[in-house]
Symmetry: C2
Subunit: 253 residues, 2 copies
Amino acid sequence: MDRELFWKETFKVRAYEAGPDQRATIHSICNYLQESAANHAVAMKVAMDTLLKANMTWVLSRLHIRMEKFPYWNQVMTIETWPATKEAHHAVRDFRLMVGDELVGVATSSWMMFDFVKRRPVPIPDFMDRYQNREAGRTLHDPFDPLPEIPDRDGLKGLRFRVRMSDLDMNQHVNAVHYLAWALESVPADIWKSAVAHEVEINYRSECHYGDAVLSYSRVHEESADRLVILHQLIREKDGREVTRIRSTWRKK
Amino acid sequence: MDRELFWKETFKVRAYEAGPDQRATIHSICNYLQESAANHAVAMKVAMDTLLKANMTWVLSRLHIRMEKFPYWNQVMTIETWPATKEAHHAVRDFRLMVGDELVGVATSSWMMFDFVKRRPVPIPDFMDRYQNREAGRTLHDPFDPLPEIPDRDGLKGLRFRVRMSDLDMNQHVNAVHYLAWALESVPADIWKSAVAHEVEINYRSECHYGDAVLSYSRVHEESADRLVILHQLIREKDGREVTRIRSTWRKK
């Protein structure tokens, strides 16, 4: 296997990344995934330099995480990641999450190419063909079908989030992880107490900036003896534009 | 030197811990300090076990951080920390922050002992006398005098923060770092653009819980050619109780 196309990074779970159960929260896991993807992209220097010269950059469009177990405070989680496949308009990056020899989670993600001068998505350039690690395979086969909207959203009251300075990332955008936190935040406290969101499917649709406010809507979509499926939508207050759509699956405790 | 009384831990700056200047934010630095203090307290197992058996735990009362330089994304910062001195009602822990061989910051903190059955502060027990590392000295001589209140606070409009589920720490309290972020957030954007808060003095006064709302007030207290001093107060909305008082010092760019 071409070592350049495979990235391995460890994350020691910090207290401030853990929830009341002393385990890493799912949005901390999401931070680790983005961090390892960014570091791998930077490490594939030739690819990155060529893209930047052509005014292109990667934009995360879909992220699907499925956790079996969440690591505890001070446990070390290893994330392995690689570019898995490539189509005309998106590329797929997969992840394997390990604690020691135990597989604790899998994830997959879909990325678009964005021309930052033309300010629009563009096809993925042909030279990226060689930056695929087909040998490493897929960890989660998600065809990335559209996620459903919340039925009857008009009947719901959205929870309002004003974008904080401390929500911004190095590019002055809201760090994508906060959208997940805001979506889960609108889930009622009794569900938080009785269940754990162990799987999330996220579709990033538009950006927010400092000063924007976002309304977070959630509705339980399916419920059975051992699990719940919840649909989420984040809507920008000023123009009603959809920022993020999410489906979360909760395992009852 | 007694090795048990000295703790060293490394932190690789993550993208999600960095601000738009690609350097660790001061609230990320604050997270690293608390993390290393907590890990050291847990590592001093006999002390910790004895305190817990007596229904006692440490509560952070004052924290003073002075940074010379902020580490960049992916730089590794080493934090050295030790219990420096002890008085009847508080104990002092100091910190040295290094990037490679370079000292990039210093910090000191004052901790009270809290009886979690009686729900009140108690004197620090005598057996803690032996858990002091006088040999390592002090990095920042702060007598922890009271911080000033904001003059004419009634004339200010507070910025409102509702405590989010994701603001809670493992003890269901708001992670102390968020109070700093909320305080700095109420500083006008033009100051954020033209200056960097490189020194903060924090006095934690009371707790907040999920569902509480906090009003954040700031006022410029001193201004000179190269720096600004800003006073901050966080007030719990429902009862007007003061949660945190902060003084921040900003270096103009």
